[in-house]
């Protein structure tokens, strides 16, 4: 239709039709551009706020921008003791939850991919359920258990909860790595006289490392970021998100934005490292005897 009109009256409609065809060609890019802006603007706001001199009126974006930039909150990033404590608690919690959930999650993934056994379907279901449950229900039900048994809430109850919701994600990540695993390398190790344990230690584990690392990173991120489950089972312990939630009522110190920006940079770096590892492992795995001949 469009082009027919364009040929009939080229002088009048050439411009609109050109705009139209340009839009058609670049529509995807424009759309993607808008979507990217939508996704990235809040992160930009957080970063801008970490440099904004907002001694009086820190809630207002316009004010923060007009007041000019300062580095003083970056210089005194750790000047709020409660915030530091909360962040340290979060890191300790996440480190422990990551360690434990990664170990038992990897074991589960090995069992599910490598073995056929009675109860396999039930185990799969058991793993899916936590991912299909709203966090608030997990938090509330775990709190019910703790309340009924009179278990005091705090770091331990948080650790139990965090391990619980991390396991499924660890299994999913490690499992996807295991499914594409070429087992002939293990057979080769066995042929060369390695015991099953040696094979696992020197062949399987190194090849699985990127998957395990990615799973651990995901678990760590989930744990550091968790608010809802923690809100229910925190007792008087304050993690980073819980501190932010509480501080929101009385005014959030600018340092929160500084630390959030730092965390963002750190996460991005960590992910780059994992990706690099993964590529390396893929190269390692792709060096196969038949290709050398």
């Amino acid at each position: 239709m469009e082009s027919a009109t364009a040929t009939a009256r080229p002088a009048v409609s050439a411009a609109p039709s050109r705009i139209w065809s340009w839009l058609r060609r670049n529509g995807f890019k424009i759309y993607a551009g808008f979507a990217l802006a939508y996704v990235l603007i809040p992160i930009g706001v957080i970063a801008v706020f970490s440099f904004a001199d907002a001694s009086q009126n820190r809630d207002h974006l316009a004010f923060a921008i007009n007041n000019g930039f300062t580095l003083k909150y970056w210089e005194h990033a750790f000047a709020v003791p409660d915030l530091n404590d909360a962040l340290l608690t979060s890191f300790r919690l996440a480190a422990l939850a990551t360690l434990i959930s990664t170990v038992i999650g990897t074991m589960m993934a090995l069992a599910l991919v490598r073995h056929r056994f009675w109860g396999r379907r039930a185990s799969n279901l058991l793993l899916v359920l936590p991912m299909a449950t709203p966090e608030i229900v997990m938090g509330a039900s775990l709190l019910s258990l703790f309340l009924i048994y009179g278990i005091s809430l705090g770091f331990t109850s948080l650790l139990i909860a965090h391990i619980m919701f991390c396991i499924s994600f660890v299994v999913v990540v490690v499992r996807s790595r295991l499914i594409g695993f070429d087992r002939s390398v293990e057979d080769a190790a066995a042929d060369l006289g390695a015991t099953p344990l040696e094979t696992f230690r020197y062949v399987t584990l190194p090849l699985l490392r990127p998957g395990i690392l990615a799973a651990a990173l995901l678990a760590f991120a989930l744990s550091v970021d968790d608010f809802i489950v923690s809100d229910f089972n925190k007792g008087t312990t304050e993690t980073f998100p819980i501190y932010v939630f509480g501080a929101h009522l009385r005014g959030i110190p600018v340092q929160v934005n500084v630390l959030a920006t730092m965390l963002f940079a750190l996460t991005v770096t960590a992910i780059c490292v994992v990706l690099w590892q993964q590529r390396r492992a893929e190269r390692m795995a792709s060096v196969r005897p038949e290709q050398e001949v």
């Binding site: 995807f28 759309y31 993607a32 979507a35 939508y38 996704v39 603007i41 992160i43 706001v45 809630d59 207002h60 974006l61 316009a62 921008i65 038992i104 074991m107 589960m108 090995l110 069992a111 599910l112 991919v113 490598r114 073995h115 056929r116 185990s123 799969n124 058991l126 899916v128 359920l129 299909a132 449950t133 709203p134 608030i136 229900v137 509330a140 039900s141 775990l142 019910s144 258990l145 139990i160 909860a161 619980m164 396991i167 499914i179 087992r183 991120a221 970021d225 608010f227 809802i228 998100p241 932010v244 939630f245 929101h248 959030i252 934005n257 965390l263 963002f264 996460t267 991005v268 992910i271």
Partner: protein, 296 residues
């Protein structure tokens, strides 16, 4: 004899590997559900030393529900709308990244798109609160363009809560869809076109069906957390935008009326499970439960 013993031990291996995780999930995920059910049937007065006693108090459920009808409808309306918008944003974006852009840009773009994931959930919600605040430059701009009326506001509206939910759970939608699009064998699309399918037909008959597992997983991974959320409604909504999550949170943690809160959580769980079940029936299961062919 020795052989039999060995094969018996071999058969125990998977159970040994499975045990720690499975026990953890049973004790701290399944069993608590039972206790939440038990708690929801107790009676008593909050904040008294006697606490609550169990006596099949089903009235907790009707109490929890009474007068909350619109709040429940609102919750699933918000979560549903956010899921649909997220799908509309995520699919074309994932499609463009997986198939349309230079492969060299694929990873950095994917990174950028899931970047919200790398900042703290609460802090990015508070960032939205700042962006949508009454005196923010963006609201001023929209007012100048007359997109919103002079006395209009964005914060404390349904739209703000839905936008927040969409934003916060978007990565959960993008990642599975991207994974499923990336996995497509593009020669199938080419084959469709060779057989005289138009671009649209090729998309509808080949690409879309092949990526359905990703769409199903994305919808579930977005809808489920969105329906149980209370952070977005807390920061971005007003008094009339509270979701069930806010109610459960305040009944549990502020009023300490555990039985009623447990009843409400249970209803929430049941509704979500029912919706998920219906949805999976219509959309097929493999995407979420994982196919059986994995085992070797």
């Amino acid at each position: 004899m020795g052989d039999q013993k060995r094969s018996f031990r071999r058969r125990l291996i998977p159970y040994g590997l499975l045990a720690p995780g499975a026990i953890w999930l049973v004790v701290f995920f399944i069993v608590p559900m039972y206790f939440m059910g038990e708690m929801s049937l107790r009676t008593g007065v909050p904040n008294t030393p006697e606490g609550f006693t169990f006596n099949w108090e089903f009235a907790n459920y009707s109490d929890a529900l009474s007068g909350r009808g619109d709040q429940i409808v609102r919750t699933f309306f918000y979560a549903g709308t956010a899921t649909i918008i997220a799908l509309l944003i995520a699919y074309p974006l994932a499609y463009a990244i997986a198939l349309k852009v230079n492969p060299r840009w694929r990873l950095p773009l994917l990174f950028a798109v899931i970047a919200p994931f790398f900042t703290t959930y609460l802090i990015r919600t508070i960032a939205w609160e700042t962006i949508l605040a009454d005196d923010s430059p963006i609201v001023d701009l929209l007012k100048t363009l007359q997109i919103i009326p002079e006395d209009g506001r964005l914060l404390a509206t349904s739209g703000a809560v839905i936008a927040g939910l969409t934003y916060n759970f978007l990565p959960f939608m993008i990642l599975p869809i991207y994974a499923s699009i990336e996995r497509i064998d593009t020669s199938l699309i080419e084959a469709g076109k060779d057989l005289y399918a138009s671009s649209r037909q090729a998309f509808l008959r080949v690409t879309l069906p092949l990526t359905m597992p990703g769409v199903v997983a994305g919808v579930l991974l977005t809808f489920i957390p969105a329906s149980g959320d209370y952070v977005n409604a807390e920061f971005l909504g007003g008094a009339n935008n509270a979701m069930i999550g806010n109610r459960i949170q305040s009944t549990y943690l502020e009023q300490s009326d555990y039985p009623k809160a447990a009843a409400l959580s249970f209803l929430m769980m049941a509704t979500v499970l029912a919706l998920v079940f219906i949805y999976i029936r219509f959309a097929g299961t493999e995407a979420f439960v994982g196919s059986e062919e994995e085992a070797r």
